[in-house]
Assembly symmetry: D2
Homo-oligomer: 137 residues x 4
Amino acid sequence: MKFTYKTQIRLHDTDAAGILFFANQFKILHDAYEHVLEKMGFSFNQMLTKRSYFLPIVHAESDYKKPLFVGDKVVVTVNVAHIGTTSFSFAYQLHNLKKQLVGSGKTVHVTINKKTRAKITLPAECRQALLKFSGKA
Amino acid sequence: MKFTYKTQIRLHDTDAAGILFFANQFKILHDAYEHVLEKMGFSFNQMLTKRSYFLPIVHAESDYKKPLFVGDKVVVTVNVAHIGTTSFSFAYQLHNLKKQLVGSGKTVHVTINKKTRAKITLPAECRQALLKFSGKA
Amino acid sequence: MKFTYKTQIRLHDTDAAGILFFANQFKILHDAYEHVLEKMGFSFNQMLTKRSYFLPIVHAESDYKKPLFVGDKVVVTVNVAHIGTTSFSFAYQLHNLKKQLVGSGKTVHVTINKKTRAKITLPAECRQALLKFSGKA
Amino acid sequence: MKFTYKTQIRLHDTDAAGILFFANQFKILHDAYEHVLEKMGFSFNQMLTKRSYFLPIVHAESDYKKPLFVGDKVVVTVNVAHIGTTSFSFAYQLHNLKKQLVGSGKTVHVTINKKTRAKITLPAECRQALLKFSGKA
């Protein structure tokens, strides 16, 4: 399976240099990630209120290939990059409407117990969903 | 004419109190405003690069009726509230999917010369678009 | 008593029009409010984790008098504007280093029970702190 | 030379999971970078308005070691990590007041012509400042 998320650069995403402020690309990556999790049946709100674990980010990175201006439409492609024992990672690619790669990114997540914040093995429902999403189950 | 803009509360819109951070409602209002301007034929990018005037906000306000949580879908209705000589204002209403009013807001804009930043009379194209949008032309 | 909070416009506060994005003035107001609450002995972290009530914002407004550019230093003056039965409000004024008024704002807060989200009478410790802050106790 | 930048986690930096939203660590890194540039005599405002080049970020990354909560004070240490022909990079470390490493990050910048957006050799004044900052001049 392959998920895409469509969005548009808004004025508040830009800065006085006239283009997307780099940190806001990470917001876009996370918006895409939330969108994908929803499609996989994991709403963030449920996770925050009903589940016993969190999936915090321990590493994030982005590359910037072309400037993005206010109003630019962007398609984000999301893939599962890795499924480990206590962690997983997502890879993202951003294309403009001319299908040019304008940026890319990665987020690495660990699963932790919500109360103790100790690292835990990926919950079964979580692993299953990731495998399904990556086309391996 | 009546414009609506659909969006969804993302994790980065919320804060540690668990709900939409109040300042981020203003971002949503502006997203809706940019969406409407585009529909009216005024892209922000063109305005920033090609036109000789800006439409800065001189006053903004918001009311918060119900808490909004991550994942909540919101419909923003946008109306022209007032068209003056050198200013205009937009009114916004936010409803959830149960059609409950969750928030509202207003932005007051003036037209200024891009270089001198002096107030100017609403450019004709701008007034026309606003009149058309408000159903008066 | 009168509290001031000093800050500086950062690149991420601005947008492609080259000046402070209006919604980010609300972030600055809230930063000043958090700073004042801390000085009054109410840390946000304690409020979120240990107290039984929240102080959500039900109304917010801002005026914009002069454009603010990246690097501009700003002094925010904070005053208690009103103390009601179940609500209170703060008023804010922003000055640049030339002591010119560049903006102002207001936030209206209600006190609610953290679990039920029902409005409650201002807790005594809260009222006392506000009275003290406003120079009336 | 070694520069440090002190800041505090504000409510708008956090999200509904109760801790710093990962993308906002990048804002903090950039705040520290702006602070350092100022100390080196390169104000962002001057760069945006008077110089012929920009220093856009082409790569950014962050690691997250410990959760940061609203009100937490953070000290960011900034170092020049690399000076190339058309690029340079900064490394950042974030410590809490207990001197524990809570996060780290890196930004890679290229120098481009402001109008053509073509890559250019590091301007002399820029290279000099970086060398001085890294203790090599």
